[in-house]
C-alpha cells in the first residue's frame, strides 16, 4: 500500500474515469435508483479498500463491473448493505428508473421487431443476457467480459456463442425479423465469434433488427 496521497490520487483517477460507466451498468440492471446508489457506493468502497488489487488503466473498469455484479447478486439475494455513504446519491437517483424507462422508450421506438427482440432477450437465462449485455451495452471485448465474470476468455467465447444461439432461437420462435435470421446464419456467426474477438462484435453485427 502506497503513501496516503498516492492512494488518494489513484482512487480519484479510477473514480473519475469509471464512475459513469459503473453507474450506467447498475442503472441498467436495477429496478430503482436506491439499489443503484447503494451498490455504486459499495463498489467504490471495495475499490478503495482493495486498491492494490484494482488493475491499471482500461482493465480497472471490467474489474469494477465484476465487483458491482457480485454486490448486485447479494442484493438480489436479499442482502443489502446500506451505508450513509450513498445517502446523498440515493436522493438524486430516487427516480432514476423513470428516466431510464423514458430513455428505453426513446431508443426502442416500439416497432414490432424491437418489441420481439426485447421479449426474446428477456426470455433468455440471466447468464446469457449478461454476456450479451456486457458486449452490447458496456461494449466490452471477450477478455474484459472474462474479468467481469471471473472466468477464462475461452469460457466467455463459449458462453457468448451459446447465448447468441439461444437468442436467435427465441427470436425465430417469436416470429420476429420476418425469417431473415436463420439458425444457420448464427451457426456461422458463432464460428466467426470463436475466432474474432472484436469489441462488441457479438451484439452489433446481426443487424437485421
Amino acid at each position: 500500500m502506497g503513501p496516503p496521497d498516492t492512494r488518494r490520487h489513484r482512487f480519484e483517477e479510477i473514480y473519475r474515469t469509471s464512475h459513469d460507466a459503473v453507474l450506467a451498468y447498475l442503472l441498467r440492471r436495477t429496478e430503482n435508483g436506491h439499489d443503484a446508489a447503494d451498490v455504486l457506493a459499495e463498489t467504490f468502497l471495495v475499490a478503495w479498500r482493495r486498491l492494490d488489487d484494482v488493475p491499471d488503466g482500461d482493465r480497472a473498469r471490467p474489474w469494477l463491473f465484476g465487483v458491482a455484479r457480485r454486490a448486485l447478486a447479494n442484493l438480489h439475494r436479499g442482502a443489502r448493505r446500506r451505508t450513509a455513504l450513498s445517502d446523498r446519491l440515493r436522493g438524486e437517483l430516487a427516480h432514476a428508473h423513470r428516466h431510464t424507462e423514458r430513455a428505453a422508450d426513446r431508443h426502442a421506438e416500439r416497432t414490432a421487431d424491437q418489441a420481439a427482440v426485447a421479449a426474446a432477450f428477456r426470455s433468455l437465462p440471466e447468464q446469457d443476457r449478461e454476456v450479451l449485455a456486457l458486449a452490447g451495452w458496456e461494449g466490452l471485448d471477450f477478455g474484459e467480459i472474462a474479468v467481469v465474470l471471473g472466468c477464462s476468455r475461452n469460457a466467455v467465447r463459449i458462453r457468448m456463442y451459446r447465448a447468441r444461439r439461444r437468442f436467435a432461437r427465441e427470436l425465430s420462435a417469436l416470429g420476429a425479423l420476418g425469417g431473415r435470421e436463420k439458425e444457420g446464419e448464427h451457426e456461422e456467426e458463432g464460428e466467426r465469434l470463436k475466432e474474432g474477438d472484436g469489441r462488441a462484435a457479438p451484439a452489433s453485427k446481426g443487424g437485421a433488427a
Binding site: 464512475h19 459513469d20 442503472l27 467504490f44 443489502r80 430516487a94 427482440v117
Partner: protein, 281 residues
C-alpha cells in the same frame, strides 16, 4: 438483431443524473473510510464474515410481527428495566425480559441517544448498535436495516405504526448465547421538520411525507409540508417532460397553488424538492 437498442440508458444519460457535488461527496466519504474498515460497523475483534440482512421483504416482516405478537402475550419473567450510567434518575431507554433461552429487548424511548441503547445492551453483555431513524408514518415501528455477524440470527419485534414519540415497542429477541455484533435500525415517527429516511418499499414522495403525491395539487402538498413544519422547499418546473423555460427552477411566487406535483424528494440540508407543473402528470 441488435440488443444495443434495448440498452435502457446510455453512459451519458446516467452521468447527467448525478450532480458534481454528489459525485465528489461519495468519493470523499469513501476515502474517509480506512482501508480495513468494513462500512459502518466492523471493528477489531470481529470474527468471521458478516451476514447482511437488510431490505427484508415486507411479507416477511409482517409474518414476524404476527409471530411475535403471540409470543409477547405469553407469561414471561421480567428482568428489567435497568438503568445504566451515572444518571440513575433517567428512565431506561430499553427494557429487558427473559423469555426461554432469549432476552427480549424492547425500546421504551424511541428518541433516546443511541449511545444509551448501546450502554444498556452492554450491561447485558450484548454488542448491539440500535438506532431509530425517522420514517414516514406508515413505516414507523418497522425494521429499516439489520446487519448481524455470520451465523447470527436475531428476531425483531415490530410495532407497526406505533412508534411515535410516546409509544413504541419495537425490539429484538436475542438468544442468551449470542456473542456476535449486530446493527439494527428501526423506523420511528419523524419529529416536526425532520426528513424521513427512505428505505426499501418506499413509494415516490414518501421520503418527504408526500406518498402518492404525483397528481396532487401544489396547494395540497403545501398543506402537508406545513403540517410537518417543513419550510425549505425548492421548486423544479416540469412541462411535457422538460424543465424549459425554467431550467434553474422556480421561486415560490412563480408556483401556482392549482398546479400539480409530479414528484417530491428530499434534497440535502433538510430541503424538499417539488417537481411541479401546470399539467397533471
Amino acid at each position: 438483431m441488435n440488443i444495443e437498442r434495448l440498452n435502457p440508458i446510455t453512459e451519458e444519460e446516467a452521468a447527467a443524473m448525478v450532480s458534481r457535488q454528489t459525485r465528489d461527496d461519495l468519493a470523499e466519504r469513501v476515502m474517509k473510510t480506512t482501508p480495513d474498515d468494513v462500512p459502518t460497523s466492523v471493528r477489531p475483534g470481529w470474527s468471521g464474515r458478516r451476514r447482511l440482512l437488510v431490505g427484508i421483504p415486507l411479507a416477511v416482516t409482517v409474518a414476524t410481527a404476527a409471530m411475535i405478537a403471540v409470543s409477547v402475550a405469553e407469561p414471561d419473567q421480567r428482568v428489567g428495566p435497568v438503568s445504566v450510567g451515572p444518571n440513575r434518575a433517567e428512565a431506561a431507554a430499553l427494557s429487558f425480559r427473559k423469555e426461554g433461552d432469549s432476552l427480549v429487548v424492547t425500546v421504551n424511548d424511541p428518541v433516546a441517544d443511541p449511545a444509551r441503547y448501546k450502554k444498556e445492551f452492554a450491561a447485558y453483555g450484548m454488542d448491539i448498535d440500535l438506532t431509530l431513524a425517522p420514517v414516514s408514518p406508515r413505516r414507523a415501528g418497522t425494521l429499516v436495516f439489520m446487519e448481524t455477524s455470520e451465523g447470527g440470527h436475531l428476531e425483531t419485534i415490530l410495532a407497526e405504526g406505533r412508534c411515535g414519540s410516546e409509544v413504541c415497542g419495537v425490539g429484538v429477541k436475542v438468544p442468551m448465547d449470542y456473542k456476535g455484533h449486530a446493527r439494527i435500525v428501526f423506523g420511528r415517527a419523524a419529529r416536526p421538520g425532520e426528513m424521513y429516511d427512505e428505505g426499501p418499499g418506499d413509494v415516490p414522495g414518501e421520503g418527504v411525507g408526500l406518498p402518492d403525491v404525483p397528481g396532487h395539487t401544489v396547494a395540497e402538498a403545501w398543506a402537508v409540508l406545513g403540517e410537518r413544519k417543513i419550510t425549505r422547499v425548492l421548486y423544479r418546473y416540469v412541462f411535457r417532460g422538460s424543465d424549459r423555460p425554467y431550467p434553474d427552477g422556480l421561486t415560490r411566487d412563480q408556483v401556482k397553488p392549482e398546479w400539480y406535483v409530479h414528484d417530491a424528494l428530499a434534497g440535502t440540508d433538510d430541503q424538499v424538492i417539488l417537481f411541479v407543473g401546470p399539467v397533471k402528470p
